[in-house]
């Protein structure tokens, strides 16, 4: 049996609730999605760097940032779909 990923279960939980109507439309959400691609690219770069080359300014709390990006991505994809 395929185990449900964390983001899939989050998405499912959000989809079960009613979606509110956003007065501002979807454009701001699309801007956020586009910027998140750059965040994910930056995270991948830091992750793939050798341990000694990992810039501490970016590396510290990187997992927290990954979690926020994942949460926001899930939230927005549910709102946009």
């Amino acid at each position: 049996m395929v185990k449900e990923s964390k983001s899939q279960s989050k998405r499912k939980a959000i989809q079960q609730e009613d979606k509110p109507e956003y007065s501002y439309g979807v454009e701001p959400l699309k801007e956020v999605v586009a910027a998140m691609e750059e965040v994910k690219r930056a995270v991948r770069l830091v992750d793939s760097a050798n341990a000694e080359n990992k810039p501490i300014d970016l590396y510290k709390n990187l997992n927290v940032l990954k979690d926020r990006v994942d949460t926001l991505e899930t939230l927005i994809s549910t709102l946009l779909n």
């Binding site: 609730e17 509110p20 007065s23 956020v32 965040v39 970016l58 510290k60 709390n61 939230l75």
Partner: protein, 201 residues
């Protein structure tokens, strides 16, 4: 449900203003005003000043705004108003102090995202250029005073880049009106009513 954001450097009185407006509007307009307060108080482990933490604040703020909007959006009664005592724009004056930035592309991408995207989700922005409730929060000439001054200048420059959202200069209202909170509340409520009628003011 509408959202109003307060912008300004640290110690300018953003949180106090948010709660004063909420209290006044709850009483006068029987509105249901929700204050979304700052992230740092909820995440003490993020006190370390680095690039990653600043982006965490940015995303955390957006997530919390969306989640609050989602929870309030389902309500059909009452006048739901959100006042955020900061906006995702707040991280940029702090990021400007990190020289050199490890990821300048991310800085500019995030800045565009906030200026051209996320700030459009606010119905009005309330800008505090000067402190509202204390004359000068840090000792004149100290390092913190210099940084504070620098951040306020950066905020001023960022404000010039905002388009398509009404910005109210709160200091001007405090300087010109006897009851500034009442006046600001009226402006917000007028906007709220206008929006409800389908007009973007």
């Amino acid at each position: 449900m509408k959202k109003y954001g307060i912008i300004g450097a640290e110690r300018t009185g953003k949180t106090t203003l948010a709660y004063e407006l909420a209290a006044f509007m709850n009483k006068k307009y029987d509105a249901s005003v929700h204050v979304l307060s700052e992230t740092l108080l909820r995440n003490p482990q993020l006190k370390l000043f680095n690039e990653t933490n600043q982006y965490i604040f940015l995303f955390d703020q957006i997530i919390r705004e969306l989640e609050l909007e989602r929870s309030l959006g389902k309500r059909e009664i009452g006048r739901e108003i959100i006042i955020t005592d900061r906006t995702p724009l707040d991280i940029f004056p702090y990021l400007c102090e990190i020289v050199p930035l490890k990821n300048p592309i991310l800085f500019y991408t995030a800045k565009e995202m906030v200026l051209k995207g996320w700030l459009q989700t606010f119905n009005i922005l309330l800008y505090l250029e000067e402190p509202l409730y204390e004359e000068r929060p840090f000792e004149r000439g100290s390092d913190r005073d210099h940084l504070w001054y620098q951040r306020r200048i950066i905020f001023k420059e960022l404000i010039k880049e905002i388009s398509n959202v009404d910005i109210i200069n709160v200091n001007a209202i405090f300087n010109n009106y006897e009851y500034p909170i009442a006046h600001l509340s009226n402006l917000i409520y007028d906007n709220y009513i206008g929006e409800k009628d389908g007009k973007r003011k």
